[in-house]
Symmetry: C2
Subunit: 401 residues, 2 copies
C-alpha cells in the first residue's frame, strides 16, 4: 500500500487554516475572518472559514490517526486524496448533489470545498422530524449517476481499471470489513451494546445460517468491482434542506458492489421507520425508501441505453443487473441494521430514544429485521414486500414492548 | 494505465541475447554458445541459449506489439513485468510446477528463466497421443495453491489489495474480454471459421439466452477479484513430460474469478475428448478432467483450514466457494470451447484434424457443447454429469458425421 509522505504533513489549527485560505486567495488579505473547527475530531479536522454573514469555505484535513470511542489507531492520510478525487468525479456525474472542490493538496491531506453550512445534517434533522420532500429523488439520482458512470457499462475498460487502482482504499475498506461484516457477528471487543440485548445478540452469534450469508455478502464486498461507491452513504454523510441534497465525506470510496451504497442508505432510513411512532411520520420515510429505489432503477435504466457495450442491448441483462443490485441492497442493508445496533459505531436514531423500553424494543427490532433481510434477500420479491417485511417487524417490536 | 518507458527499449537478436546471457554471468566469457529464437513471434521473442549438450537458459522479451494472423496492433511491454512477477509469486506457492526466474528487467521487458526445452508443449504432445500420467495431479495442485494463496482467505486485506493493483492488466484483459467473451458471440471481423459452420454460427449469434448468460460470465470476469489467475491456462501454456509439468506464460495474469483458470484448462482437455476417436484414448483425457477438479477441490479444502479469516470456520462457506468455482468453470469452459472454434485464435486439436467431415463434426460438437455448458452451468450437478454431458455431445456429433 502506498504511504503518503507524512514528513511534509502538519496539522492545521484555526489560525493556520485562515492563513491558508487567504494565501489561496479565497479571501482578500486583512479580511475579518471567522474560523470554527466543526469536525467530530475522530478522523478529520474540518474548519469553517467565513466573513460574518457571508458564505465561506470549508477546509478539511485528514488526521494521521482514527479515534473511535476513545480508542485511537494510526491511519495514513491517503484517504484525503481518495476523498478529494471521489468528490471531483462524483461532481462530474451528479453535479447538484456533491459539494464543489476548490483545491486539494494530497501531501497536507487538505481539501478546500464549498461551504454547506446553510444545510443540515440529514440524520439529526430526520430525528427531529424535519421533512425533506426531494430527498429520495435526489439520492436516487445521485446513486444512478455515480454508479452507472463509473461502471464497466459506461467506461472504456482501460479507464475502469485505472479507476479501480486509483481508488484502491485498503485502510478504510478494512474498517468496513471489520466493523460492518465481521465484528458484530462474533463476540469481538469492538462490539458495544446494552446488557439487556445480550440474549438476542447471543442468538445472532449462534445463528450459523446467518453467518454463512454474511460471509457471502462480505465476499461480494471484497471482490466485486462493479462501480465506484461512496462507501459510507448513511444519513450522517448527507447535508440537506427542503430543496437541496449534498452527499459529503466519500473517504471510504472504492470499487465495490453497487448494492452496498443503496443498502446502507436504505438501512439508515429504516432506522427512522423503527424509531418513529406515528404512522404518518413513518409514511414519509417509507415513501423515501420506495422512491429511492424507483428513481435509482429508472435513471440507471435510462443511462444504460447510452452504453457502448454490445451486451447492454441483450434483453434481460439490465434486469439481471438491477435484480442483483436489489438483492445485494437488502443484504447489505441488513448488515448495516445489525452493526449500527450492536457494533462499534451506533446511530443516534436509536441511541437517542429516551424511553428505555422503547429504545430496547427498537434495537431488538433492528436486529430481527437485519437478520431477516440478510436471510431472505433472495426471496423478497420487490420493494413492496421489503416494506411489508420492515413494517411487520416494527409492529411485532411494538407488541412486545 | 502506466506506460513503460519504451525509450530504453531495444529488441534483442540472437547475438545480443547471447551477449546479455554472458554479461549476466550465466556462461563464462568466450563460451561456445548456441542461440535459437523459438517464440512464435506474435507477442514475444524467446531465445534458447545453451552450450552444446547442456541445459541452458531461456531469455524471453516482450515485443511492443501483438501480431495475430497477420494483423498487428501496438501493445505496451508492461506485460513482461506482470509475467515475471506472476511467475515469481506462483513459484513461491507451487514451486514444482513453475519455471524459476533468474533475472528480469522491466524496462527491457526481459525475463531470464529456467530452460524447459527437455519438455514438450502439452497441446502438441496430446494431439500426438502422448500420455501424461501426472498431468491432472500436477495442474490440480498448481490451481489449488496459486488460487488459494492469492485469495482473500490467505492474504491480509492490505496485501491482497496491493496485489490487485500490481497485477492490474488492462491490455491483456481487453484481449480476453474481446476475443473470449464478445467477438465470437457477434458477427465481428475478428472471427474466423469455415463457411460450412455458418448455419451453426448464425444460430449462436441469434441465441439471446446464450448471449445473456455470456454477458453474466463476462461481468464476472471483469468485476470479480477472487484470486491471481494465470489468465491463459490452455494446453499450449504447459510444458510437460512423463514426470514433470510446468505452467508458463502468465502474461495474462490478473485478479479474476478462480473458475476462469480451471474452466480454460478443462475446455482445452475437452478438445482432446472431441478430437480423439478411440474410446480408450478418450478415457485418459476424461480421467484428467475429473481428476483435475478432484485434486483442486481437495487441496483447496486442505489449504482453507490454514485461513485466519473467521468466516472460513463457518459450515457451508467452503462448499459455497467450491460450488461457485465449479459453476464458473463450466461456464468459462463453454466460452473457451466456442471461441477457439469460431473466434480469432484456434486450437490445433481441432484445426489439425485432416478429415474434413470429421473436422466439421468436431467443431460443431465443440459449439453445441460450449453452448450447453454455458446455459446449463447452474444445473449440471457434479463432475460426473459434466462428463456425461461432454460424452453425449461427442457421440451425437459422431452420429451426424
Amino acid at each position: 500500500m502506498s504511504i503518503s509522505p507524512v514528513t511534509h504533513y502538519q496539522s492545521l489549527n484555526e489560525q493556520t487554516a485562515k492563513d491558508l485560505a487567504v494565501s489561496l486567495n479565497y479571501f482578500p488579505q486583512h479580511s475579518e475572518l471567522n474560523c470554527r473547527e466543526i469536525g467530530d475530531g475522530n478522523l478529520n479536522l474540518v474548519f469553517h472559514i467565513y466573513e460574518s454573514g457571508q458564505k465561506g469555505i470549508i477546509v478539511k484535513q485528514a488526521l494521521p490517526y482514527a479515534k473511535v470511542v476513545g480508542e485511537s489507531w494510526p491511519l495514513t492520510i491517503e484517504r484525503a486524496r481518495i476523498e478529494a478525487n471521489a468528490l471531483k468525479l462524483q461532481r462530474i456525474h451528479a453535479k447538484d448533489f456533491v459539494p464543489e472542490v476548490f483545491y486539494s493538496d494530497d501531501r497536507l491531506a487538505i481539501t478546500v470545498m464549498e461551504d454547506l453550512s446553510s444545510l443540515r445534517i440529514l440524520r439529526s434533522a430526520l430525528i427531529e422530524g424535519e421533512d425533506f420532500p426531494h430527498l429520495s429523488d435526489h439520492i436516487g439520482t445521485f446513486l444512478a449517476n455515480t454508479l452507472y458512470h463509473t461502471s464497466d457499462y459506461a467506461l472504456h475498460p482501460f479507464k475502469k481499471k485505472e479507476y479501480v487502482k486509483a481508488f484502491s482504499n485498503p485502510e478504510l475498506c478494512k474498517i468496513t470489513e471489520d466493523l460492518v461484516f465481521t465484528d458484530p457477528f462474533f463476540n469481538s471487543d469492538s462490539n458495544d451494546f446494552e446488557e439487556e440485548l445480550l440474549p438476542a445478540v447471543n442468538d445472532l452469534w449462534n445463528d450459523f445460517n446467518l453467518k454463512l450469508e454474511v460471509a457471502k455478502l462480505k465476499k461480494s464486498f471484497v471482490t466485486e468491482t462493479e462501480a465506484l461507491l461512496h462507501g459510507d452513504l448513511h444519513t450522517g454523510s448527507i447535508f440537506a434542506d427542503k430543496n437541496q441534497t449534498k452527499v459529503i465525506d466519500p473517504e471510504f470510496a472504492f470499487y465495490g458492489p453497487i448494492g452496498f451504497d443503496i443498502g446502507q442508505f436504505l438501512a439508515n432510513l429504516i432506522f427512522q421507520v423503527i424509531a418513529r411512532d406515528a404512522d404518518e411520520a413513518r409514511d414519509e420515510i417509507i415513501f423515501h425508501i420506495t422512491n429511492t429505489w424507483k428513481v435509482f432503477s429508472e435513471q440507471f435504466s435510462i443511462l444504460w441505453k447510452e452504453s457502448g457495450d454490445a451486451y447492454t442491448k441483450v434483453d434481460g441483462y439490465l434486469e439481471y443487473i438491477l435484480e442483483k443490485a436489489f438483492r445485494d441492497s437488502i443484504g447489505f442493508g441488513g448488515c448495516e441494521l445489525i452493526r449500527r445496533t450492536i457494533g462499534l459505531a451506533h446511530v443516534a436514531d436509536l441511541d437517542s430514544i429516551d424511553d428505555r423500553e422503547y429504545r430496547y424494543s427498537a434495537k431488538l427490532c433492528s436486529l430481527a429485521l437485519g437478520r431477516e433481510l440478510i436471510l431472505r434477500r433472495h426471496t423478497i420479491a420487490n420493494m413492496e414486500e421489503l416494506i411489508d417485511t420492515v413494517l411487520k417487524n416494527v409492529s411485532q417490536g411494538r407488541d412486545h414492548s
